[in-house]
């Protein structure tokens, strides 16, 4: 294997891990509320900036920053659900309306971060310094850790939604509100919790991303589009399928960057998604149509 190939695989792994974390957060909100949360990327940005403030500006360390960034995003998620999503639960056009309201949230957060933190580029420190060499290709320890953290996070998320009573109640509220209420699940609480969980995950992912890229108000918005591609390609449902699709997109992106270059990569990714959906309307792993 050539060095370029190995570098591509490593890059695909890192990208796939980040997309998997983003897409699984999106998918939690989609499967419980039936809302596509366009503010997800902005919540990542918010998490990264809050982490920077705690870790760098106040000098309290990255661990504290990570916790604060996650919590701040979760809190913002609760506010978004309360103010911009909940009023429209019973509206027939809820899906369309929440596209607009969550887009509004995205813009408000983006502009807000610009106002609060200013235009100067910032960066978060890495979890750990140093590099690893795999078959002669270098990968930073930080990126290697992301590759490890992603599956752990996904398994934890899966265990929560599939094995705990609270997690199951979120899925139940998503599948049948009436039946959920009748067995004693307070559906609005379940929705709020799902949003907080998803947003917290976004904040955490944003902190990880903020050590690889510079912090800008649109830090999360560009990968958000890829994460949405992943969710759709995975078949809008199970976490396993979402994770699988994330790595497919991650590897494909790394490969396309190597072969056709950065300029055409996004277009080709979208084209791939459309072609896949023509032949497999329920996504890569979505089963029969």
């Amino acid at each position: 294997m050539t060095e370029a190939m190995i570098a591509t695989i490593l890059s695909g792994l890192v990208l796939g891990s980040l997309y998997a974390m983003m897409a699984s957060g999106l998918s939690v909100v989609w499967t419980t509320l039936g809302v596509f949360n366009f503010a997800h990327g902005a919540l990542m940005t918010l998490g990264a900036y809050v982490a920077w403030t705690i870790s760098e500006y106040l000098g309290l360390g990255l661990a504290a920053g990570m916790v604060a960034g996650t919590l701040a995003a979760a809190l913002a998620g609760i506010v978004i659900e309360r103010l911009l999503v909940r009023p429209f639960y019973t509206n027939r056009n809820m899906l369309l309306i929440t596209v607009m309201t969550t887009l509004a949230a995205m813009i408000i957060i983006e502009k807000g971060t610009q106002v609060i933190w200013g235009p100067r580029l910032k960066q978060l420190p890495r979890i750990a310094d140093g590099e690893l060499f795999i078959f002669g290709s270098a990968i930073s320890v930080h990126e290697a850790l992301i590759v490890l953290i992603a599956p752990v996070t996904l398994i934890a998320l899966w265990a929560f939604t599939a094995r705990t009573l609270t997690g199951r109640s979120l899925r139940a509220a998503g599948q049948n509100q009436t039946a959920a209420a009748l067995i004693g699940i307070h559906v609005p609480h379940a929705y709020g919790l799902a949003y907080a969980l998803s947003a917290g995950l976004a904040g955490f992912t944003g902190v990880l991303l903020g050590s690889i890229r510079f912090l800008t108000p649109t830090l999360g918005s560009e990968p958000l589009v890829k994460a949405m591609t992943v969710v759709i390609l995975g078949g809008l449902g199970s976490l396993g399928a979402t994770a699988g699709a994330a790595f497919v997109i991650g590897f494909l992106e790394a490969f396309l960057v190597l072969t056709v270059g950065l300029y055409w990569t996004p277009s080709l990714l979208f084209l791939t998604m459309i072609v896949v959906l023509i032949f497999r309307p329920n996504g890569l792993f979505g089963g029969r149509s």
Binding site: L165, R171, Q175, A179, L182, G184
Partner: protein, 241 residues
């Protein structure tokens, strides 16, 4: 005799449509009641109003001595007023056992989860054979059993069943009837909605006939009408129109 459920002068509907009109009924602690009447005259709406899924515009509902008229559906369920709704589709993407476990969601239900689970599986052996099967792939009869099973997992103080045998074969209907009778015999009061008056008389102590959202007749099991008279009840109103 203490009252377990009292609905007093309930008026309710959907938006501008009024379905229930000053409807009152009651159920004491140690009896079961049946509701019957023509299609579309408000039986399901009545159960949904009691469960907190539909808000009455006037009237009051007391359950176990407490006014629950404006309570949330989830709190009413948590208080042990279980409801197996008509045509319940449950949670399609979950398995049978997972749904049953989840249905013991509230604190009072959780402590009885194991015993109730065994009870559900012994009442409905078909469910025990299909623990991993997804709810959306169950047959109509199996889904009905699961719906009743879920309501039992809530550890009910009062169990409301909306047309539990709708669309089932006579054999399956009998099977379900035996299971429901078993539940009643174990001391859980029932509110059962059914079209088949004989079936209701075999399960419950008193019947209410509901027409145009009102109680038009109350029937005691001890002086129940015969088949011909029941037919007249159902069809007699139509010839007056």
């Amino acid at each position: 005799m203490t009252m377990l459920l009292e609905a007093d002068n309930i008026t309710a509907g959907y938006g501008a449509v009024t379905v229930l009109r000053n409807l009152s009924l009651h159920l004491s602690d140690n009896e079961s009641i049946g509701l019957f009447g023509p299609n579309g005259h408000g039986k399901t709406t009545l159960l949904m109003t009691i469960s907190g899924l539909v808000r009455p515009s006037s009237g009051s509902i007391r359950y176990d001595g407490v006014d629950i008229t404006l309570n949330r559906a989830s709190d009413i369920g948590a208080a042990g007023l279980a409801h197996s709704p008509q045509g319940n589709t449950l949670f399609g993407e979950m398995g049978v056992a997972e749904i049953l476990e989840l249905s013991a969601f509230t604190r009072r239900a959780k402590v009885q989860r194991k015993t109730q689970m065994e009870r559900v599986y012994s009442l409905f052996p078909r469910l025990a054979e299909r623990q991993k099967q997804l709810a959306r792939t169950l047959s109509g009869g199996e889904r009905q059993m699961l719906s009743i099973g879920c309501a039992l997992m809530c550890a009910p103080r009062l169990l409301m069943l909306d047309e539990p045998t709708l669309g089932l074969s006579p054999k399956l209907k009998e099977e379900l009837g035996i299971a429901v009778a078993d539940i009643a015999k174990s001391g859980t009061p029932l509110v059962v909605v059914e079209q088949d008056v004989q079936f209701l008389l075999s399960l419950t102590d008193r019947l209410y006939m509901i027409e145009h959202g009102e109680v038009v007749r109350e029937i005691d099991r001890t002086d129940a009408p015969d088949h011909a008279e029941i037919m007249k009840l159902y069809f007699g109103g139509d010839s007056d129109d």
